[in-house]
């Protein structure tokens, strides 16, 4: 699965996700990636989120929408919200994966409970960061 979230100069955030799913899937299985609210969500009231991981868990937790709700309604920082969903809720449920997010105020965040996630971030006035492993 791949995904990108962005904030533009007009202050608009957006999110996109694309995937081939899981190897040897059957029965027309669809994971979270194309499901708005589970694998992808964006609202200028909070943030934009794209997910990757064991899709069934992300669907049950409505991960992308819930992260936005935590930011909008509970006032969590973006990093605190993504960590709550990935490091606490997803892990507690037994799911694996990660998320990326960006907020209208320029906050960027990522969180994953696997040993690695291919990732990169860049922003106006900030150097690009590229990572693979947890300790990158």
């Amino acid at each position: 699965t791949v995904g990108v979230v962005a904030l533009d100069a007009d202050g608009v955030v957006a999110a996109g996700t694309s995937t081939g799913g899981v190897t040897a899937k059957r029965w027309g299985r669809v994971g979270d990636s194309p499901i708005i609210g589970a694998g992808t969500y964006a609202t200028n009231a909070a943030c934009a989120v794209s997910c990757t991981g064991a899709g069934e868990y992300f669907i049950r937790l409505s991960v992308a929408r819930t992260i936005c709700a935590l930011v909008e309604l509970k006032g969590l920082s973006l990093q605190a919200a993504v960590d709550q969903l990935v490091q606490r809720d997803l892990t507690k449920l037994g799911g694996e994966g990660g998320v990326i997010a960006v907020a209208p105020d320029g906050q960027m965040a990522w969180s994953f409970n696997t040993s690695g996630m291919y990732r990169a971030r860049i922003a106006d006035g900030e150097a690009m960061v590229v990572g693979i492993y947890k300790d990158d």
Binding site: V2, A6, G16, G31, V99, R121, I122, M128
Partner: protein, 189 residues
């Protein structure tokens, strides 16, 4: 406060230093950096977040290192079925496709659903047909084939005790150099 920002991912999973050779590590980092720079170029020029996302994801969909577009994993039947979605935080407009098999860039199909249909989510042959009706590039399913994903499917079906489908007749006979670089690193999604 940053005027613009972009974050990208190429999948998460069991990816450890000991599992990636230096050239594999470098290949993934190069692509992720290129993806970020491509999106940043759109944003620096005053482009919309949606345009940056589409441009960046198209690169990932075309790169056989990643499980999206060309290089995606196989179903148990030996097909490749692609899903994508996109959402505009300014308007809450959204679009998604699932199970497309002939649209080169599923992310563009999702955007077309969002911008040029009254719907949010289209699936299967209908989604491919809609993408074609919007002028998006259609390809033969063999376009998405990579040898390493085929081998992963065979291993997984053997593990599950399921029948191995016939190898696609039009599949490339040889692996290209970049795909051969990558191994099956146990990604989750």
């Amino acid at each position: 406060m940053a005027k613009w920002a972009l974050v990208a991912h190429g999948g998460a999973g069991v990816i450890e230093r000991a599992h990636l050779r230096p050239e594999q590590d470098a290949a993934y980092r190069e692509v992720m950096g290129r993806v970020a720079q491509a999106g940043a170029a759109v944003l620096k020029a005053g482009g919309a977040a949606l345009d940056a996302i589409e441009a960046a994801i198209q690169i990932l969909e075309d790169d056989p290192l990643f499980n999206a577009g060309r290089g995606a994993v196989f179903t148990a039947q030996g097909d490749i079925e692609l899903d994508a979605s996109i959402m505009d935080g300014g308007t809450l407009a959204a679009g998604a496709v699932a199970g497309v098999t002939r649209t080169r860039h599923p992310i563009s199909a999702a955007r077309a659903v969002m911008e040029h249909s009254p719907h949010v989510f289209l699936g299967g042959e209908g989604a491919d047909a809609f993408a074609r009706s919007q002028g998006l590039e259609a390809v033969e399913p063999s376009f998405f084939f990579t040898e390493r994903r085929w081998k992963s499917l065979v291993r997984e079906l053997e593990r599950q005790g399921l029948p191995i489908p016939r190898r696609p007749a039009v599949a490339p006979a040889k692996e290209d150099a970049r795909t051969a670089l990558a191994h099956d690193e146990g990604k989750r999604g």
